[in-house]
Amino acid sequence: MVNSGTPQHLVVVGGGMVAQRLVEALRARDDAGRYRVTVFAEEPRAPYDRVGLTRWFSEGVDGIALGDPDLWADPLVTLHTDRGIESIDRAARTVTDRLGHVHAYDELVLATGSSAAMPPIPGNDLPGVFVYRTLDDVAALRGWVEEKRRGFPAGKPVRGAVIGGGLLGLEAAGALTALGAQATVIEFGTHLMGVQVDLGGGQALRRLINAQGIGVRTETATSQMRPHRRTGHVGRLDFADGGRLDVDVVVVATGVRPRDELARAAGLPVGERGGAVVDLTCRTEDPHVWAVGEVACIEGRCIGLVAPGNTMAEVVVDRLLGGEAEFPGADTATKLKLSGVDVASFGDAHARTEDAVEVVWADPVAGVYKKLVLSDDARTLLGGVFVGDAAPYASLRPMLGAELPGDDPSAFLLPEGGGGAPGLELPDEANVCSCNGVSAGTIRGAVTEHACTDVPGVKACTRAGTTCGACLPLVKKLVDTELERAGIEVSTALCEHFAMSRAQLFDAVRVADLHSFSEIVDRFGTEAVVDDGGTAKGRGCDICKPVVASILASLGNGHILAGEQSTLQDTNDHMLANLQKDGTYSVVPRMPGGEVTPEGLIVVGEVARDFGLYTKITGGQRIDMFGARVEQLPDIWRRLVDAGFESGHAYGKSLRTVKSCVGSTWCRYGVQDSVGMAVELELRYRGLRSPHKLKMGVSGCARECAEARGKDVGVIATDKGWNVYVGGNGGQTPRHAQLFAEDLTSEELLRTIDRFLMYYVRTADRLQRTAPWIEEVDGGLEGVRQVIMEDSLGICADLDAAMARHVENYEDEWKAVLEDPEKLRRFSSFVNAPKDADPSLAYVTERGQRRPATPAERAAGVVVAGPKLEVRA
């Protein structure tokens, strides 16, 4: 469709997860820019992951970040936060915001969501009674619990109760526990999570929840909340059965109510139990007004889950763009992980289908309950409940409504390794990622038609697994199967010379205690036919040789130019400088933490001037000097080393810089000495060879002026110590580092980073930065945390020792070269004219410095300086 002039204005009322999805979908599909969209959010922030609110305690706002923040920077997208809409004028097609501003719309989408329902229990307005819906609710809850604890004598626990034992109630109980409070869940019904789980599952769940230290009372109605005599805060719950519970905080999580007041006031029909009534296209009675998410009353009811809301958002976008999509019915599958307790259910969990057959596998001791609901012939899958072990959920849920293979459906419920379930061949239409509505067919298509060859590629292409990630194991299985089918070998081989991945080769070299490429290729290399008809191990290539060089360097094998090792180095490592486009190199002395003395700066300036080098400040807070010829490098470095500089390893797949802000030594806001820490880190890890370059940053306070979260390892000062973030990078695929550990002492910080780096060095793939590496580690970031913080693999002592060796054996590579005539011999321009400059070099002056001449400038003869620019050595 062609953009016919001015875009139409789409107004979205509400700034929740579904609103975000709607805008994402629109911007992804509306190539022609037919719509500009304005979102009015009541909360003072961009949409966040409401489903993952509990993560806010451990990871802060980044833990609940949703999607790509660049979405809001799109010129066709406007987000107004803290700007609720007060009224709709359907006749004039305008909305009025809380500031009284009137905004015209062509199409209007209501995405106002729900509010937490407050049951009419006397005392529900006492201080200390909370609901659990928004970030502000959660923040207030935390503030209250912390305030209470401060007022209590040491050791006295804060006692919490959660009224409501559904999904949200259990989340809230988990949140209380995470805040260090006691928690008791009060449920009116017969068992926990009554909507999703049957009685048997609910009982298993209760045991597991109890095992987390959370109390549970079922079949209990709360009749009154009573104030504490002295404080007037909520102090006691009275139950209908005469029981009582002393409390310091209460969270009410008994359900939600659609925020349909705007729809009502605008005269739009609402459902019996609330919600703006829409048809299967999500359109209200007014052809220009739509409703999506929890506020939409679709097929006669409102649905309080995000996945169906996302589906509605996609339907509206499709319709706005002229499509024919209809809401396919709600996928009410649910999977919850609450402090280690897996609960999942899908389809007809309560076996309400006529003549349905239930197959149950239960292990009360382990707290495991699994049930399949099948059609009367025990073949077609109608639903399932999983408590304590949700492993079968990911592969079974997409089979909903399909026939299960094999004769014995109970095989799917047996524990992993207990005979094994028959291989599942998912139908193409099976919904694999319910968050984003991605089918098995779409994932297969990503491999067969869009040439994706791995899970990250498929994620980027289809969005599968990008929200909650629960389906990723299944996505991986589908991708691997499809690659295999397409004859694409899922090979981790480095190249034709080694059938192993970098991590495998690293271990092999370490265990076999090998110290040269020849030994390694003889032992682990692949045979090739050579021209005399025989076979032999190959002699490597530009892929495997630098990998072996990096492995040997990490395992401590002396100078990188020593002996045969020198033949493995990429030209940057071989010349200990960075190759530029014209064949000259750039030189970067280390300036730890970005700190440099005036004397040092003068020397750098003099060297650059005397050798005619172009100088530029790098993004890593140091100085790069360009245009150095091979034969000049030793002379340049001799002067730098004499002035106290050392190699900056800008050329290596190794630690580059530790960027820092000025920190508490100068800054009015700094709470720790960030420069001091950056210098310490840079000196500790300098020269560490790794699978890819490594960057680090240290900020002296939460203002984050060092942009540490854009680094592989970012350190941010807190008033109690240091928070460490991992897995950030800039570049083509920018990533924010994720919180890894909080409030560490300097010593703990070093130990954590030591282990993180060494584990990465040993197990990452070639040219894999930390972010994708973390994704591939079993268990992701949490998996890395377990290895490093809890020593789950029992390798921490080994990692510590390896890093200690690195620190001890560090030497300045350039100083060592200058002291060794044999190594210096490599820095000859020509073997028959060692000091002659490459005659093909040509430069022009621009902004007071020289740069390589372009082909056109060479042809036109405007070149002002050849390679033999006068040098004052």
Partner: protein, 141 residues
């Protein structure tokens, strides 16, 4: 050390026609499995001394020479590439954009999604090399 016997080896210098043989260096000046550039007037040649490893087949122990100009970047840098093998064939990889060339035939074996700069062919010119009395001689045309 195997000497690369050139069957029809002409005299080192003073041969008839445009081709001539030039002395580049001593064999011992060359690091095995690493390149070195040699300059003859304005002509730059990249020399590669292969070690006597079985992986190089009959090429082991010999010296090969190709143009030093990298046709994909326009820089004279091929002597600084990584030496190795592809399916038994001795190769050098451009240090700039990683194209791989046969040291024996000069053919570009891996284009790495690039095309040569305007006016250049992807394949390299090769030069005959002779090692005589410990000296490396290169035939220029």
């Amino acid at each position: 050390m195997t000497v690369h016997d050139v069957a029809q080896a002409p005299a080192a210098t003073g041969a008839a026609g445009p081709a001539r043989w030039e002395r580049a260096c001593l064999l011992s000046d060359l690091f095995p499995e690493r390149g070195a550039a040699a300059l003859f007037g304005d002509t730059q040649v990249a020399l590669f001394r292969l070690p006597e490893e079985r992986g190089y087949g009959s090429h082991g122990g010999r010296v090969y020479a190709v143009q030093n100009l990298d046709p994909f970047s326009g820089a004279h840098v091929l002597s600084r590439g990584i030496v190795g093998t592809r399916a038994g064939e001795p190769t050098v990889a451009s240090p700039v954009y990683k194209q791989v060339f046969s040291l024996v035939t000069g053919r570009c074996l891996v284009l790495a999604d690039k095309s040569p700069k305007d006016g250049y062919e992807p394949d390299l010119a090769v030069h005959e090399v002779e090692v005589r009395d410990g000296a490396v001689l290169v035939r220029l045309s």
